[in-house]
């Protein structure tokens, strides 16, 4: 597999040139027409790949978008007698807006429910087109639509349209690839991998879902409009639910989320039945068998071939160009011992750095940064938080402790915007953040890590961190796709900052790895890197030490000290008393939703209520509270 990127580009170029040839070497019109149809469907299926494969919203109604685009273009050309170069863009843009409107509805619906809803939309579309025959021609369709022809190409309609259709397809795929690896693509993928993490790390999931739905419909409409220009006839039967399912099949055969695979999937789904036609009665059965065989032998879809070829344009693979990374760092699995040694080395380095420049430390000031006032939160009858108030001062590390079920994670969720509060208010730097969506809380300056590591598995470590950088937060699809100077500069900035953050965590060498390939400890460090890359005012840590082994705990402690040293304020939930006591300036103790104590580590540890809460019974309190320290 060690074929250089340059060679792969060359192979791809040869394949593309080869695909341009058929009309010039006397391939018959029928084969060309089948290929034309495959190209058109590959564009429509690409929309499904964007929505379903990349963003994770199962769309089963793509044929309706294709039909909407087709009918819009057809009606503009027949009803209004306008030329195709007006009809095509109007159809595409119009359907894009329709898609966005439906996307707004769809963000309220997820998973299977969304799939069923889009299936319903498809059926509504069919019925409306069937019944409103004064406009659509009813069951006999829109006929006599002027088709496009390029007499210069010579030959029949299929010959003339082959090259333009092929070029359009290549363009559509190039745009999709570009979107995929720039800011908007990363946000779509982060939502698919873990939408909760995406939202709390600054991805406006509502906007991204709406735009992704709209992109899906735009690709559908483009395919539909081109279909009309190619065949000059459309009927409700062209856009049945069955067609939507066929497009989903193309996506699945191509490999969920693989852009290049979608093209191969379309070739198989459109082309294979035609190749088998001569088997007569059983050809569709053989086709079905073929699909099963493909899915059994290459369960990840044909995308593995396509993605290998397209690697130079996909994120992660291009990583080899990041200068300092050595090949063996990328490829070799790091053993546990090496990992341990590395963690200790980083810890030592950070400590040394800090000691060298102790003078520059930012001292905690008494000014409150996060103010939690009378916050209550109940889930139905269960009260998770009861009237909790506390403040976190600027530059301070505040520990939030309490037994299991005491409401610590709910508190963190409330502060990061994932869970709303039932009453009370939370403000950051004077700005009210309770009630804001998670991404706005992130923008206001709150970043967090999760108790169970939530990295975006399919993406590279570098991408994981880049998403959270504010330069690419407002991801513009169009400027990203075109690659304007500003979009490129933003990408560069986000990349540099992300690499710096990885460097701080001592895992820069992992930048091009897929997050799914990382160990638990490494994932934790990635999570930490992405939560500090935007230099948040407040960092929320939900049990950062959970599941980490000795060396990594040391590293973690040093990293947190380093962050505090740089002036970051931290709210940490942690069970390891050693870590809490060594790190925190103050501690707040929760029990069953109540705040039962607040103060320095020493004073809290002596508090009888805390001892009761942790040990669950009355304790003669004359001794020193060693009990608490050894209790965990």
């Amino acid at each position: 597999m060690n074929v250089s990127m340059r060679t792969r580009k060359a192979i791809l170029a040869v394949i593309l040139l080869g695909l341009l040839l058929p009309p010039f070497v006397g391939v018959n019109g029928y084969a060309l027409q089948v290929l034309n149809l495959a190209f058109i469907y590959s564009i429509a299926a690409l929309g499904v790949t964007i929505a379903t494969g990349i963003t994770g919203m199962v769309v089963l109604g793509q044929a309706a978008f294709m039909g909407f685009g087709a009918y819009t273009a057809g009606l503009i050309m027949t009803g209004l007698a306008l030329p195709w170069w007006i009809a095509l863009p109007v159809a595409v843009v119009g359907t894009g807006f329709l898609g966005a409107a439906l996307g707004l509805v769809s963000t309220r619906i997820k998973g299977h429910y969304l799939a069923i809803t889009t299936l319903g939309l498809n059926e509504i579309f069919r019925l409306v087109v069937l019944n409103e025959s004064w406009l659509t021609g009813g069951p006999f369709g829109l006929r006599d639509i002027p088709t496009l022809s390029f007499p210069v190409m010579g030959g029949g309609l299929s010959q003339q349209l082959y090259v333009p259709l092929f070029l359009l397809t290549v363009l559509a795929y190039a745009v999709a690839l570009r979107i995929y690896r720039t800011a908007f693509g990363r946000q779509m993928r982060s939502i698919r991998d873990d939408d909760l993490a995406a939202e709390s790390m600054g991805v406006n999931s509502r906007m991204v879902r709406v735009m992704s739905f709209s992109l899906c419909s735009i690709y559908g409409a483009l395919a539909g409009a081109v279909f009309v220009l190619t065949f000059g006839f459309i009927s409700p039967n062209n856009f049945l639910i069955f067609e939507s399912i066929k497009m989903l099949l193309m996506v699945v055969i191509g490999g969920m989320g693989s852009i290049g695979g979608t093209f191969l999937g379309a070739l198989v789904v459109v082309g294979l039945p035609e190749a088998l036609r001569d088997l007569q009665t059983y050809y569709m059965a053989i086709f079905g068998l073929g699909v099963v065989i493909i899915l059994l032998t290459v369960p990840k879809g044909l995308g593995i071939v396509a993605d290998w070829l397209l690697a130079p344009w996909l994120p992660g693979e291009e990583g080899n160009t990041i200068g300092e990374v050595k090949a063996e760092d990328v490829s070799n699995e790091v053993s546990v011992e090496e990992e341990e040694q590395r963690a200790l080395a980083v810890a030592a380095r950070l400590q040394a750095e800090r000691e060298q420049s102790e003078a520059g430390q930012v001292r905690p000031v008494a000014e409150p940064l996060l103010v939690v006032e009378n916050v209550s939160k109940s889930f139905g009858g269960l009260v998770a938080l009861k009237d909790v108030s506390f403040t976190v001062s600027r530059g301070e590390i505040l520990g939030l402790i309490g037994p299991n079920g005491s409401g610590k994670s709910t508190m963190i969720n409330a502060c990061s915007g994932i869970a709303g509060v039932s009453s009370g208010r939370i403000s950051l730097d004077g700005q009210l953040i309770s009630g804001l969506p998670a991404w706005d809380v992130h923008a206001a300056g709150v970043a967090r890590i999760f108790q169970n590591v939530r990295v975006w598995n399919s993406m590279t470590v570098l991408e994981n961190v880049m998403i959270c950088h504010p330069a690419t937060r407002r991801a513009h699809i169009v400027s990203g796709a075109i690659g304007t100077a500003k979009a490129r500069a933003d990408e560069e900035l986000a990349r540099d900052e992300a690499l710096k953050a990885l460097n701080l965590m001592g895992i820069r060498h992992l930048a091009t790895r897929r997050a799914s390939d990382l160990s638990f400890g490494q994932s934790r460090l990635v999570e930490l890197a992405r939560s500090v890359v935007n230099k948040p005012k407040l960092l929320l840590l939900d049990e950062p030490g959970a599941g980490l082994r000795g060396g990594l705990i040391m590293e973690l402690a040093e990293i947190l000290k380093q962050l505090r040293y740089q002036g970051m304020t931290i709210l940490v939930v942690e069970h390891r008393v050693k870590l809490v006591v060594s790190m925190c300036d103050r501690i707040v103790v929760l029990n069953l939703g109540d705040k039962i104590a607040e103060g320095s580590a020493q004073s809290v540890a002596r508090d009888p209520m805390v001892i009761d809460a942790y040990l669950g019974g009355k304790v003669v309190r004359k001794r020193r509270p060693k009990i608490v320290e050894s209790a965990t």
Partner: protein
Amino acid sequence: MRKNFAPVLLAGLVALGGMATFANAADLTIGAAAPMTGPRALLGKYFKQGVDMAVEEINAEGGVLGQKLVVTFEDDQADNPNAAINAMSKLKEVSKVPVVVGPHFSVAQLATMKNYCDGSMVSITGASGVPVTQQGCDYVVRIRGNDNLQAQALVSYALEHLKTTKIGVISIHDDFGKGGAERVVAALKDKGITPVANESHNAGDTDFSAQLSRLQSAGAELVIMWTHDNESALIVRQARQFGLPFKFAGSTSLSQPAFINLAGPTGEGVISATDFLPANPDPNVKAFVEKFQKKYGELPELYAATYYDSVKLAVQAIKIAGSADAKKIREAFGKIDTQGVLAHYKCEANGDCNHQTNIIEIKNGQPSLLTVVKF
């Protein structure tokens, strides 16, 4: 490596598909686009039975232009426009046939017109959608009456023989029923009559008392039904149970075995229009039905009869043209004036060749021919 299996298997499948059954060079090949897969594959079977029987007879009589007649079938999946386009394109570009029988479904027929109407092939079809011969396509030949014809025939027969002008209409709420009811109302309007009531029901309804009582209070004497066989039978039974004296007439559904069995004695006297009636005493039909039963052991139906005729007509046209050139064959259709199974064929410039339909009545539990309405 497991991975390497996929391309090999794929290549194998394609190769398997590539083993085309090439016709002998001395044969004269015509094409057929029929529903061979999908939910309507059964119709495709009847279609093929009719075609095969015609081909057998023709070759037994010495073939056409001294050559053996061969038919290449391509699947159009009934009403799937894309499948039909590909099927027709393959017949045109690969098999290079001058004549195609089918596609049968109007939507498939309309979808493929941009493909063959350039003069490369003549399509002989039983598609009954009105627009099929209104598209300015010079190469389509239709051997069944269009949908309007049945409604018109039924209405004129009813007005003439049943001597009533108080007509109610009931139809099912789908494209079949809606389209049919519209055509009935239009045909009535041509005769200066407005129906006294126009009722509809949903698919799967079992209780029609509301519609029947509205028809009764509107004073209907004849009720024209455009609905499927099960529902028609229920409507007729319930009307008789309520003691309503309506006469019933309607679509081809009312001549189908399912209707006759379900309606039982209440179906007696119900009138309908149909293009093909196996019990037709016409000698051409009788001969066809006998031959068909002998060959396949079952009664022929509309598809078999239509496409039996289509092949016979194609051969006749080729013989008149004296060549297998599509343009000459199409010209030859202008000279055809012959009796077939469905009708007496005489082609107009737009390609319509069939100008008649049968009016039948249920008598003693059997559909029997009342009259042939000619236009």
